[in-house]
């Protein structure tokens, strides 16, 4: 077997607590499907037949009971539970399932929604025998107003500095703004080998990684690495250029030195195979070089290589903030060819459902309601004379008569009283909005949630 897929679905959604304090992030509905449906769908389309899902018990329960999931997803989901309280990082999770991993792996995060041609990423992995191959995309500006955001948007998350070579495929440098104190430090060895480097900041890491088997073994030996994105990837990118005879790392303290020597040693050892001699012969006889201008052979003789595929066009969303969630809900339904109005929904003839809205199954939409540019989830009851525009209504919501909902997100099982006028609000899970309320640009959540900081 060539690749095994691993789906990381144990994350908490810490950047959108308003949405996730009651519903685990993998089960948030996007386009009337749970978020966790999208990565397996992508994998299935490409040809994977099974995926290892690492998640919490709650999500596992839902996965096994959700009818729709069971029918839509044909591949085998091998669910591995981890404790929610254990606060495992992604690398810890990989260590946890180390027994199941027998070949190279493709790690994907559950909040990724994309239509990338996956073979682009995997081809880099295959053709160059890369240790790491990842996917990145240009960041889109979010245009929708985000409920509950007061004032201008903050400066945003910390930027990622990504350095690639002139072909745009080889990953030379990766650092997050938070890790850089004063400025960007580039090692001379990188500049000597790749004198032309492009540094990009407007890139979104899609959290889709192809990793060699030896990396998993390396993780097993090095228990200090907890997160793939935060620690492992920058480490691998840095390791491409470190000398195996360790004389250049004088700046780091000796402990780390030894550890790095060991680990590097491990990495090298684990990646050699029996037929290395033949491969070496083929490479020697081949008249190809990945760079020119200096006297070194292809890949500068390095065994560790990291590649990145940067998507220019196409859709790639990571649903980890509220803005991304709303944007994804807007764009995703257009991808799939589901009928906008689910056949199991009861929609009265005298209601007006716009063509860019989707209605989930078991909904009841009464007369003289108008729904425009909105997503309505399963089992939602909408009474008469309700106007819904530009909103996201999740599952099990009840909206009484005469309401006017604009640009808002209404979470699971909320109840909106009669005549309420909600503009650009976020109504949390299970909340009740009293009748005749007028809320603008507010986040309505329960008091118990407010305690949780």
């Amino acid at each position: 077997m060539e690749l095994q897929a691993v789906l990381m679905a144990a994350g908490g959604g810490s950047r959108m607590m308003d949405l996730t304090y009651n519903t685990p992030k993998p089960l948030l509905p996007v386009g009337n499907r749970p978020l966790i449906w999208y990565p397996p769908n992508l994998l299935e389309r490409v040809g994977f037949e099974e995926v290892i899902v690492i998640t919490t018990k709650e999500v596992q329960k839902t996965l096994s009971t959700d009818q729709r999931l069971k029918t839509d997803v044909k591949m085998r989901l091998d669910v591995v539970c981890i404790q929610e309280e254990a606060d495992m990082g992604t690398a810890d999770a990989l260590r946890h399932i180390q027994q199941k991993i027998k070949t190279d792996i493709l790690v994907v995060s559950c909040d990724l929604i994309t239509d990338v041609a996956l073979h682009e990423v995997v081809d880099l992995f295959r053709a160059h025998s890369a240790t790491l191959s990842m996917l990145m995309s240009k960041v889109h500006e979010f245009t929708e107003t985000v409920p509950g955001q007061k004032g201008k948007k903050k400066a945003g998350e910390q930027r990622d500095f990504v350095g690639v070579d002139i072909t745009g495929k080889r990953l030379l440098f990766m650092a997050n703004e938070a890790d850089l104190d004063e400025g960007l430090v580039l090692r001379k060895s990188i500049m000597r080998k790749h004198p032309r480097m492009l540094i990009k900041t407007g890139l979104l890491d899609a959290h889709l990684y192809c990793l060699k088997r030896s990396v998993v073994d390396f993780l097993v030996h090095n228990k200090s690495v907890t997160s793939i994105r935060g620690e492992l990837v920058p480490y691998l990118v840095r390791k491409q250029f470190s000398k195996s005879l360790n004389s250049q790392n004088a700046t780091e303290d000796s402990e780390k030195n030894h550890k790095q020597q060991d680990t590097h040693h491990n990495l090298e050892l684990l990646s050699t195979s029996k037929d290395e001699a033949l491969l070496q012969l083929a490479r020697e006889r081949s008249c190809w070089n990945d760079h020119r201008g200096d006297m070194s052979e292809a890949y500068h003789g390095g065994k560790l290589r990291c590649y990145v595929h940067i998507m220019e066009e196409g859709m790639c969303y990571r649903v980890n903030t509220l803005a991304a969630y709303i944007e994804a809900n807007r764009v995703v339904p257009k991808l799939f060819e589901d009928p906008p109005i689910h056949p199991a929904a009861v929609v009265s003839e005298r209601s007006l459902v716009g063509s860019d809205s989707i209605i989930g199954p078991l909904c009841q939409i009464s007369d003289r309601t108008s729904i425009k540019r909105s997503n309505v989830g399963t089992s939602t009851t909408i009474k008469e004379k309700v106007k819904i525009t530009n909103s996201i209504i999740m599952n099990g919501v009840t909206i009484e008569e005469g309401c006017n909902i604009q640009g808002s997100v209404i979470c699971n099982n909320a109840v909106i009283g009669r005549g309420a006028d909600i503009k650009y609000c976020l109504v949390g899970s299970g909340q009740r909005v009293e009748p005749e309320a007028e809320r603008t640009n507010e986040v309505i959540v329960g008091s118990d949630q407010l305690m949780e900081i």
Binding site: E2, L3, L106, L281
Partner: protein, 536 residues
């Protein structure tokens, strides 16, 4: 093919088929078509077998009849060579072999099915040939030059046209059956080369291959990608990488139940080879390597255990690489170094792994010479050769091929590498080589071609059009200062971009060919081929 019917058939039905066949052949005769010697021979044999069957009908009970048939059919199995899974007319062998070979029941039925299939194909072929005008037989209808009468007559179709729509459809169907994606051509092809395939690097062959690759072994997918992107380029490198990938395939192979390793593994390799040729057309060296491997696989005795067989195959691959590539290059450099004298100015073209090796060895043996590396667009492989030679310490000059006639007066000899050596003495090599040889001849500079014997190929070609390779035309586009004039070359109807890869050099321009068997003139290649075939 209703073989189930065939299996239940008794000999009477069999003979009626023979009757039909005979009738059709007689019909063809009556239509006044001229039957060649082979046809007449075949007819004679068919008649004999037909008569024998009729005799058997009246004679002993059915069991003996079947035994006869088995004896008739069983030798056909080992007679067919491994690559010849093509139909061979069974009745031809029938009369010759009388030895009753005890065949087991399942083998008999399979052989019987095959015999029925072949008989049916023969009738179809006979009728088709009767319909075609002109008695022109293709040159290859000459039967295999073996004294053994059991050898089947191998026939190629009369009109071999690569861009014939029927042939293309057949190829597409074959690829579909093997579950190998068909790669589509890209861009406008220059009319003289429109029979060749032209692919773009932007449409990789892995677009429709599932991830993870299941139908095609992952190491073969990786190899195909490396071929199509040019990461592994050069005849020797491609062959070594191919054999390495085959080693991994053999490692991961397990014989399915009721199958024999010798036959099943060869069948498994066919889709892989189709996939690789979709990525990049196979080179002559790769073709020879594949032939060798297939022969080795089919020569594995059936009682050999799987582990033992796999180990044997791996060893065989290792020894092939060792003998034909590594040791051969040692031998060639030994011969070639004799030809390099102190004070020489040697001209090389492009990046040939063998020539580089020779020059490095000569430098180590303290010969005093300098090298002129000639390079050409769009591949600019000479840069890589230049890097390797300079790294070794050899004094080099670098020119583009347009400066060839300027630099040749300085040159004392020309060393060229070859992609393949054809049976009529022509040298197939990187495009531009024939130019170098031509101009060198004009300047009376000796041209030496270095080539291992495993690259010798039985093809015959006198021009570079009939069989060549077209590379990605977008490679010819140059971007300077952000401006690309040829960006939308597809929209200009009268413009075609041609990126040829190979050309053939006639033997008049080549003074010596240095092979691992020694230094031979170009015209002795058929002799080497003949000697090789007799050895095998």
């Amino acid at each position: 093919m209703a073989d189930s019917d065939g299996r239940q058939v008794d000999s009477i039905n069999h003979s009626t088929e023979e009757d039909v066949k005979l009738q059709e052949v007689v019909q063809a005769k009556c239509e006044g078509k001229e039957l060649t010697k082979e046809e007449k021979q075949r007819l004679r044999k068919e008649k004999k077998q037909h008569k024998k069957n009729k005799k058997d009908d009246r004679g002993p009970p059915e069991k003996e009849k079947e035994k006869e048939k088995a004896s008739v059919l069983a030798p056909s199995k080992p007679a067919t060579q491994s690559p010849a899974h093509k139909a061979a007319p069974v009745p031809v062998n029938a009369s010759a072999s009388e030895s009753p070979v005890a065949a087991e029941k399942p083998a008999k039925s399979k052989a019987e099915q095959r015999a029925e299939r072949r008989a049916r194909q023969d009738t179809e072929r006979a009728s088709k040939q009767g319909k075609k005008e002109g008695g022109q037989q293709s040159a290859s209808s000459k039967p295999k030059a073996t004294p053994n009468e059991l050898q089947p007559v191998k026939r190629l179709p009369e009109h071999i046209q690569v861009d014939d729509p029927a042939a293309l459809k057949k190829l597409a169907k074959k690829l579909e059956r093997q579950q190998v994606p068909l790669r589509s051509d890209y861009g406008y092809k220059v009319s003289l080369f429109s029979h060749l395939h032209q692919y773009s690097r932007k449409n990789p062959p892995t677009q429709q291959i599932s991830i993870p690759a299941t139908v095609i072994h992952p190491s073969i997918v990786r190899l195909g990608l490396q071929y199509s992107q040019g990461i592994i380029a050069g005849s020797n490198a491609r062959s070594v990488a191919l054999l390495h990938a085959f080693k991994q395939v053999i490692q991961d192979y397990s014989t399915p139940p009721n199958e024999e390793l010798s036959r099943d593994l060869v069948n498994k390799l066919s889709p892989y080879i189709s996939f690789l040729s979709q990525c990049r057309p196979l080179s002559a060296s790769m073709g020879n390597a594949i032939k060798h491997i297939k022969k080795e696989i089919s020569n594995i005795p059936s009682q050999c255990k799987e582990e033992e067989a796999k180990r044997r195959l791996q060893e065989c691959i290792d020894s092939y690489i060792n003998e034909k590539i590594i040791l051969a290059s040692e031998a060639i450099s030994k011969y070639a170094i004799e030809k390099i004298s102190d004070g020489d100015v040697i001209l090389v073209y492009g990046c040939s792994s063998l020539v580089n090796h020779i020059l490095c060895e000569a430098f180590e043996k303290q010969r005093k010479f300098r090298v002129i590396v000639v390079d050409s667009r769009p591949r600019l492989e000479g840069r890589e050769a230049l890097r390797r030679l300079v790294k070794k310490g050899i004094r080099c000059t670098y020119v583009l091929i347009s400066a060839l006639s300027y630099i040749l007066p300085e040159v004392s000899k020309v060393f060229l590498g070859a992609h393949a050596l054809l049976a009529n003495g022509y040298v197939m090599s990187r495009v531009g080589t024939s130019q170098i040889a031509l101009v060198a001849k004009a300047y009376n500079v000796p041209v030496l071609v270095c080539c291992e014997t495993y690259k010798f190929c039985e093809r015959v070609q006198t021009d570079s059009f009939v069989s060549n390779e077209l590379d990605d035309p977008d490679d010819l586009i140059v971007t300077r200062n952000g401006k690309t004039h040829l960006e939308n070359w597809q929209t200009v109807k009268s413009l075609g971009l041609l990126n040829l890869v190979y050309d053939v050099t006639p033997p008049d321009f080549v003074d010596l060919v240095i092979t691992d068997l020694g230094m031979i003139p170009c015209t002795s290649v058929p002799v080497v081929l003949r000697v090789k075939n007799v050895d095998q």
